[in-house]
C-alpha cells in the first residue's frame, strides 16, 4: 500500500455543501503516481475546498477520497503519514527557528530522533536554507517563508505533496526557483498535487491538469490534450513599418481574419485558416508599401485555453 501504486490520489463523488450552498459537486478523478497534477480553476471554483477535504481540514459531505489507497476519513492517520501539505499561507510558528520548525514537524510525523535531524538537514540544504537555520520564522522574507513551508511538508518523506497556490505573491526569481525544486522533487518520485489559479503555472509545470469551475470538473488531461480537445485557434502576431494598419483595414482586406487586437507595438490576428491569412497579410503589406517588422504564428496561450474551457463549460 505505501508504495502508492496506481492512483496516488483517488476521488469518488466528492461533495461539499456549506450551509446549503454546493461548493464541490460530486467530483471524481485520479492523480497518477509520479505526476505533477495541476488543479486549476478561477477564484471560488472549489479548488481549495477540494484540497482541504482531501487532507482532512474540511469535513466531507459525501463521496470518498483515498491517498495511496488509504481512506482520508476512516484511515486518516495512515493517509496523513503519506502526504505533506503546503497551505496557501505560510503558517509555521513565528518564534521558532527554521530548524526548530522542521524538527517539530518531523517529530509530529513520528520520524525517529537521529533520522529526523538528518532529514531536517537534508531538506534545509535542498531548499538553500541551511545557512539561515537558526533564524526565526518571523524574520524571514515571504519567499524564504514559502520555501520553509514546503520544506516542512517534506521532512517525513511523503509520497504525495499538496501545494495550494505555492508561488502566489512571489517574485519571478523565487517562483522559478520553486518550480525547479518541485520538478526535482517530482523526479525523485514525489507525486505533486498543485492547486493554482495561475494558468501559466499550471500549464508550465503540470503533466496533467484538471479544471474545476463552479464545483465541477470541466476538463481533465495533459496540457497538449486540452489544447487539442478545445482546439483553440493559433494567433498571428504581426508588426509593420512605418505604421500598423488599423483593425478595420486588416478585417476588410485580409482573407479569413476573424478578430484583430492591438497589443503594444504589434497586432494579434485570429483567422479561420492562419496559413492562408499569413500569405494574404504579406500580399496586403506589399500592396500598401508597408514592411513587416515582425511576423510569427504562435499557439494559443494557456490563458486563452483556460478561458475557452471555462467558457464552454458555462
Amino acid at each position: 500500500m505505501t508504495e502508492c501504486g496506481g492512483c496516488a490520489v483517488s476521488v469518488e463523488g466528492l461533495t461539499k455543501i456549506y450551509d446549503g450552498t454546493l461548493a464541490v459537486d460530486h467530483i471524481s478523478f485520479c492523480v497518477r503516481r509520479g505526476e505533477i497534477f495541476g488543479f486549476l480553476g478561477p477564484n471560488g471554483a472549489g479548488k481549495t475546498t477540494t484540497v482541504r477535504m482531501l487532507v482532512g481540514l474540511t469535513r466531507i459531505t459525501s463521496g470518498s477520497a483515498r491517498i495511496c489507497g488509504y481512506d482520508v476519513v476512516r484511515d486518516y492517520k495512515r493517509a496523513r503519514a503519506l502526504f505533506g501539505v503546503v497551505p496557501d499561507v505560510s503558517n509555521l510558528y513565528f518564534e521558532l527557528t527554521c530548524y526548530q520548525n522542521l524538527l517539530f514537524s518531523a517529530k509530529m510525523y513520528g520520524v525517529p530522533g537521529s533520522i529526523a535531524r538528518r532529514r531536517v538537514e537534508d531538506v534545509l540544504k535542498f531548499f538553500g536554507l541551511w545557512e539561515i537555520r537558526n533564524r526565526k520564522f518571523k524574520a524571514l522574507s515571504k519567499g524564504l517563508k514559502r520555501r520553509l513551508a514546503i520544506a516542512a511538508a517534506l521532512v517525513h518523506d511523503p509520497k504525495v505533496l499538496f501545494l495550494d497556490e505555492p508561488t502566489s505573491g512571489l517574485d519571478v526569481m523565487s517562483r522559478r526557483m520553486l518550480w525547479s525544486k518541485l520538478r526535482e522533487l517530482n523526479k525523485s518520485g514525489v507525486t505533486i498535487f498543485l492547486t493554482t489559479h495561475n494558468v501559466y503555472e499550471a500549464f508550465h509545470i503540470s503533466s496533467r491538469i484538471a479544471v474545476i469551475n463552479k464545483g465541477r470538473i470541466t476538463a481533465i488531461g495533459s496540457p497538449g490534450e486540452l489544447s487539442r480537445k478545445f482546439s483553440v485557434q493559433e494567433v498571428i502576431e504581426a508588426g509593420f513599418h512605418p505604421r500598423n494598419p488599423s483593425e478595420e483595414e486588416i478585417l476588410g482586406n485580409v482573407k479569413g481574419v476573424l478578430e484583430v487586437r492591438v497589443r503594444g507595438d504589434h497586432l494579434e490576428i485570429i483567422a479561420s485558416d492562419p496559413t492562408v491569412a499569413l500569405e494574404d497579410l504579406a500580399r496586403y503589406a506589399r500592396l500598401r508599401g508597408l514592411s513587416i517588422s515582425m511576423l510569427r504564428l504562435r499557439g494559443a496561450d494557456a490563458e486563452e485555453l483556460f478561458l475557452k474551457i471555462i467558457g464552454e463549460a458555462e
Binding site: Y76, R78, R80, Y93, Q100, M108, Y109
Partner: protein
C-alpha cells in the same frame, strides 16, 4: 498510546518555546496569582491558613488556563493551528498537547505562591504528597478547561477579556476566598456546578488536612473526572472546529 503522548509532549514544548514570554501568559498566568496572594498578605488578617490553599489553587487555575488561551486563539487566527490537524495524530493528542503546556505553566506559577505561603504561615503542608497530587489534578483540570474555553474566542485581543469574564466569577463563586459553608444558600448550587470549587477543596485538604464542604475522596475523584471530561470535550471541539 506512548507515541501519541510523546507527540502531545512535542506540542507542549513547542508552545512553551512560542508563548511562555507572551504578556498574557506572564501577567495573568504568573504575576496575577502572586500579586493577589501578596495583597492578601499585606492586608489586615493576612494570608491565613484558610486563604493560603485558596491562593495556591488560584495560581494553579490562572497559570494553567493562561497559556492555552494565548496559544490556541493566536494560532487559530494565524492559521498555524491547522498544522496540528494535518499531522497523523488523534484530536485527543492535540488537546492533550495544548493542555500540557498550560499545565506546565500552572505548575511554574504555583511555586512562588507556595513558597510565600510557607514563609508566612510557617506550617508545612499536612499531606505533602497529596498536595502534589492535588496540584497535578488541579492543573490538569484547569488546563483542559482552558483549552475548551479557548475555542469560544476568535480574536487574540479578546482573549483575556473573555477568559477573565469567566475566571473572575469562578474565583469568587468557589471557596478560594470565602468558605462555601458561609455563603447564602441560594449560591450553593452555582458553587457546586463550577469546577474550581472541587479543585480548591483538593488543595485545601492536602495543605491543611481539613475541608469545607466536600470530603477528600469526593473532591479528588470529581477533579479527576472533570479533567478527563474537559479533555474529551476539548478534543471533540477541535474535531468540530473543522468546517
Amino acid at each position: 498510546m506512548i507515541e501519541e503522548f510523546a507527540r502531545s509532549f512535542y506540542i507542549a514544548l513547542k508552545d512553551l518555546r512560542e508563548y511562555y514570554m507572551k504578556p498574557g501568559s506572564i501577567s495573568w498566568g504568573i504575576l496575577f496569582p502572586f500579586v493577589f496572594a501578596l495583597a492578601f498578605m499585606a492586608k489586615r488578617g493576612g494570608l491565613t491558613e484558610w486563604l493560603a490553599p485558596g491562593m495556591i489553587a488560584l495560581a494553579l487555575f490562572f497559570g494553567s488556563t493562561s497559556m492555552s488561551a494565548m496559544s490556541i486563539v493566536f494560532e487559530r487566527r494565524m492559521g498555524s493551528f491547522e498544522r496540528l490537524l494535518l499531522f497523523p495524530v488523534t484530536y485527543v493528542c492535540i488537546a492533550l498537547g495544548k493542555s500540557l503546556s498550560s499545565f506546565l505553566l500552572g505548575v511554574i506559577s504555583v511555586v512562588p505562591v507556595f513558597l510565600l505561603s510557607l514563609a508566612v504561615l510557617r506550617v508545612p503542608p499536612a499531606h505533602p504528597l497529596l498536595l502534589v497530587v492535588a496540584a497535578v489534578l488541579a492543573a490538569f483540570a484547569s488546563s483542559t478547561f482552558g483549552v475548551l474555553l479557548s475555542f469560544l474566542v476568535k480574536e487574540p485581543e479578546q482573549v483575556m477579556v473573555v477568559f477573565n469574564l469567566v475566571r473572575f466569577p469562578m474565583m469568587f463563586l468557589s471557596d478560594i476566598i470565602i468558605p462555601v459553608s458561609s455563603m447564602p444558600h441560594y449560591l450553593i448550587p452555582v458553587v457546586l456546578v463550577q469546577p474550581l470549587t472541587y479543585l480548591t477543596e483538593t488543595v485545601r485538604y492536602a495543605y491543611t488536612g481539613t475541608y469545607d464542604i466536600l470530603p477528600p475522596t469526593l473532591s479528588f475523584t470529581i477533579s479527576l473526572i472533570l479533567g478527563i471530561a474537559f479533555l474529551l470535550l476539548a478534543s471533540d471541539t477541535i474535531r468540530r472546529s473543522k468546517p
